[in-house]
Assembly symmetry: C2
Homo-oligomer: 225 residues x 2
DNA sequence: TATGCCATACTTCCATACAAGTAAAGCCTC
DNA sequence: GAGGCTTTACTTGTATGGAAGTATGGCATA
């Protein structure tokens, strides 16, 4: 039997945090921008306390920096943090790829193919957000196919800094190239070739090594380290 | 020129968070225990607000769970979260081992040997905390030797759940065995044998796969999932 | 003009009061 | 005794006032 799904209204602080987090990740609140408890509270029409607690959560996410008695600022994108997250992603997804290549779960691979189709459509429509979301789902499906769903949840946390960079870079870089790499990965997985799958995945994720310096050079005011 | 190191007194909320976090990680505050803003505030002699904010941070760490209008509880150790963190560690440290084996930075390898010596001493003295700290330093040195210090910082966050488990299991399991595995890893690194280094590291970190179910069976009230 | 002091207008931090929700014990009713 | 209601004592959530610290512009002074 299905149990009833009871949802209680989330607290104000929770909602504010969620709202701010999304806006930061999408680049709506740019790195370095100053935000103020008073201003946000007034804009929403609530007291300062829930906003303050949302700021604390945002700081825990690494997306904001609270300087006591001075102000709160949207974190600049740490190049070191992005590269670290990238390193971890490569190591983890390389292992995931090997596992999936050996198991070859047909349904999951089909769903990955579906995502590639969606990416092509989003690319042609010029819809950056759709593309990024499908990109994430593609990689998440890999974790699912390897029976390691929780791993992707952990990676999501690490990707926080990377995501912001991606919203900047997606406009500048070739999405068709990314789609091609996804296809290569999927082809190798279907063949059950663990070595080729790992190599394709590592190549794909190393792409970022060239993108990061370019982005940092283009918008130095958005980056640190 | 060196710039002056100015330290400002950390906020009360920060200190409370730090205190609670350490106590949770060392198992002083057991999984499932109920904690209350009012009680902690009274015990320390401050108001509820900073304690409340410390609870929020603790929840962000995954070490506590705030149930609105009901109470706040120390998180039980999520088996899924531990296994996920372990999977990530294996993938990442396998890559790190390969890199270090190829570079063979003499000074770092010597420092890793020092840590093994400290672990032997701590083991004979029966000092669990010293052993765990040295164990962490050993693995951290590996990241340092690979030029990926930031990676270890990210792993630290993921290890939060694992650390609590370790304080439970270290008393039950054979520390001498762990030391031997560290030595095997170091030997392979010194030889510059990337494959052997990777294998030794993976073997070492897979040890946990047998420990986790045993611990969960021994103390089911401490675990979830 | 340059320098040091100071008032002022911010900021985050903490304390306090109250609001809203939960849970459990006690009591009443059947 | 069983079931249901009410009271009561909790819990966390929000609002508000003030404390403490910071940055800035103005002004007096040399």
């Amino acid at each position: 039997m299905d149990i009833a799904r009871i949802t209680i209204a989330p607290s104000t602080a929770f909602q504010v945090h969620d709202w701010l987090r999304k806006r930061v990740q999408q680049g709506d609140l740019p790195p370095g921008m100053r935000i103020s408890e008073t201003e946000v509270a007034a804009a929403i029409g609530i007291s300062r306390q829930p906003v303050r607690e949302a700021f604390i959560r945002l700081a825990s996410d690494g997306l904001a920096e609270v300087r006591p008695q001075r102000g709160t600022y949207i974190s600049k994108i740490s190049v070191a943090a992005v590269l670290s997250a990238r390193f971890i992603r490569e190591a983890v997804e390389a292992d995931l790829a090997r596992i999936v290549a050996q198991a070859r779960p047909a349904e999951m691979l089909d769903r990955m193919a579906d995502e590639i189709a969606r990416q092509t459509a989003a690319d042609q429509a010029g819809n950056v957000n759709d593309f990024i979301e499908s990109d994430d789902r593609f990689h998440r499906l890999l974790a699912l196919a390897a029976g390691q769903e929780a791993v992707w949840a952990d990676l999501e946390r690490l990707k926080a800094q990377m995501n912001r960079l991606r919203h900047l870079s997606m406009r500048a870089f070739d999405r068709g190239f990314i789609i091609g790499q996804h296809q290569q990965i999927l082809d190798a997985l279907r063949k059950g070739d663990a070595d080729a799958s790992e190599t394709a995945m590592r190549t794909h994720l190393r792409q970022m090594l060239t993108e990061v310096p370019q982005m940092a050079a283009a918008r130095p005011d958005y980056f640190t380290d």
